[in-house]
Amino acid sequence: MAKKIHKETDIVFHIRRYNPELDSKPLWKKYTVHVEPGMTVLDGLHQIRETQDASLSLRYSCRMGVCGSCGMLLNGRPSLACNTQILDITTKVLTVASLPNFDIIKDLVPDLTPLFEKHISTSPHIVRNDADEMLNPTGEFYQTPEELTRYLQFTYCIKCGLCMSACPTLATDPEYIGSQALPQAYRYNVDTRDDGFNLRKKIVGSTHGVFRCHYAGECSNVCPKGVDPARAIQLMKRELVLDYLKLKKHRAKSHICSKPEGVERIPEIPEAPPFTVEQK
């Protein structure tokens, strides 16, 4: 598809402002910004802060779609402000609002605490039965490229919350664990180094877990990293159903790669630096 050529123009930003100290509810305010091709919404918001209204609050950090801080509702679609070029989505008016389904702290700053709490609740880390190996590792784990592919896609999550604000289930069920945390649970469930399936099952299979999802699919549409949360959630449902029916296949676990014998360490390779954190 040929890329559209954009021309510089004036765009009216309708921004949903909310100051907790003064306002009882958010109010829309208008700002006109001179936009040049290539300008992102984040650039536009900076311009407003620099030339028109320094009190506008927003959250951002990396400016390059990596940190996941600048999620906003842009013309009715949850998007990263730094990753969205203004002229790609409008030629006249741009509406900018805080991410839905998250409380507003101020202006365009959502409270992402529920995202992190839900994320933590699913034990999003390698859980193993051999605590000894966890604390005092004796080697690395083998994993084939196919085993890696099974979860790699889901590791790209930057925790921006766009998926959660696009979710119609979360719109009515605040307790729903949601499209950020559930794929992370799946990511570890299918990791061949992990033994945490039974631990996570209690959380992800609960009333507010995966079975609340009915594939609106918008999480996968808006995800800026191609994580495809909707896919992970459906695949996890299948896992849980098979487990319930006692039909879940037993997958071979990664084994520890033994240290090679009879070889000398190459002298130029330095030893690992000493620990910087006290070891228990």
């Binding site: 679609r77 959502p110 699919g217």
Partner: protein, 146 residues
Amino acid sequence: MAEYKKYSNRLGITGWLAGGRWGIERYLYSLHRITGLGILLYFILHIFVTSSRVFSMDAWEKWMGFFGSPIFKFGEFLVFVAFAFHAVNGIRLFLIELGFAVGKAEEPIYPYKSSLNTQRPLMVVLMIVAIVLIAAGGYEFLGLTH
């Protein structure tokens, strides 16, 4: 952590439709819920009306006469539309929620393709089936056969 005043920005039930630039599957999700509620409402009404026979023949006939009017005939057709969509879309969801038609995890390469693309042929075929069913139902219900 310090407590501070926040504004609740949950979309609530309006979030099923309102918002904005959503994909088709999200609208199907909302339609599935709305048709489900419609069928439930019909079901309750149906039980209520048919149970009137227990009280008397008169009551039964009164209700039957009331619901025999063309507007309810059309209402009945709408129930059929809801049922046809809900049933066919339900088959799609049943398959998808058991992990079929969503594909396997793959390395995301921009522009991203997702499970939505993988299931789309199934969605299109089933929606055509729903439309055919609805058309056939319309032919029957709206008296076009006579």
